[in-house]
Subunit: 152 residues, 2 copies
DNA sequence: AATCAGTTGCAATCAAGTTGCAATAAGGAG
DNA sequence: CTCCTTATTGCAACTTGATTGCAACTGATT
């Protein structure tokens, strides 16, 4: 499940775009491609250091910014349920999804629906805007937290 | 179009909740209720100072935080098209809308659709989560900017 | 192997938002 | 209308997330 388990699509794409594939970029890309969770810059930095990679905060921000500009990753706020950092995930144009966060326990659930694509094409049709990306974040209370305690 | 043009619903609600209605809160509430645009903390502070109100950054943040907690205003990121500040707008439960931002000129368009309500009830039904608020922000290119210049 | 523009790391800086606490003022009691 | 209590404000210091300028380094092409 790590670095070489599958070909890095991002690395390929980046190479094609004439961008240098440095050790740091390779590490960050592998991390995002293999991660099951939403990562934020300090996560990435911490993981890099744990694995003995040389990596600076600045590089993390710059690389994430670049990947975002290229449309390869998606930036999330996750409703700022904890801190104000941004989170990042691999972009998958064919599988738009919603992030549903519980304001009590902080758990993030991903939710898919064909309504998202419908909404997107409605926007295109009615406004004439060219949609690049959509961010749908929902603040909610999960069943467990609702059951446990009415307030707090 | 200003302060007294209509009764402040927010001020009433706040009064009912046993919260002190100070000069600063009154000003901020009036401002948000009468504003046609999305305001961020430094806008509010600047406007207060221009009108000779005594107001501190801290108070702006605290008051916005309180109104947000009470569910009376909505917090937006507007995709961070300019800076990382948060924007605020009056909450209107019956009129959920999307914020559509042009990544080139920065213009924000509001867009309504019955698909939003459908999406919300679908989430409730399928996940069992109790939805408190939804934030839908779309990065796009407006017709004008697309026409003018293919890249940049 | 040599080259060199693209990248990185570091230190300094910026910007947004928060905290602790003394001074102030809202609004109910008398 | 004045007093009193306590919530609220303003200020200064601080924290956190992100950015910038620049010298040193390195990937990849010759």
């Amino acid at each position: 499940m790590s670095t070489l388990s599958r070909q890095s699509t991002l690395a390929d794409k980046i190479g094609e775009m004439g961008v240098r594939l440095t050790k740091q970029r390779r590490f960050l890309i592998d991390l995002i491609e293999s991660s099951q969770t939403h990562l934020h810059p300090s996560d990435i930095l911490k993981l890099a250091r744990q694995r003995g990679e040389k990596m600076d905060r600045t590089t993390v921000y710059r690389t994430l910014g670049m990947l975002k500009e290229m449309g390869l990753i998606e930036e999330l706020d996750l409703l700022h349920l904890s801190g104000h950092e941004h989170y990042y995930e691999l972009r998958d144009k064919n599988k738009r999804h919603i992030h549903l966060g519980c304001v009590k326990c902080g758990k993030i659930l991903e939710f898919r629906s064909r309504l998202i694509e419908q909404l997107e094409s409605e926007i295109r049709k009615e406004t004439g805007y060219d949609v690049l990306s959509m961010r749908i974040e929902v603040a909610a209370i999960c069943r467990k937290c609702r059951g446990e305690n009415g307030d707090e």
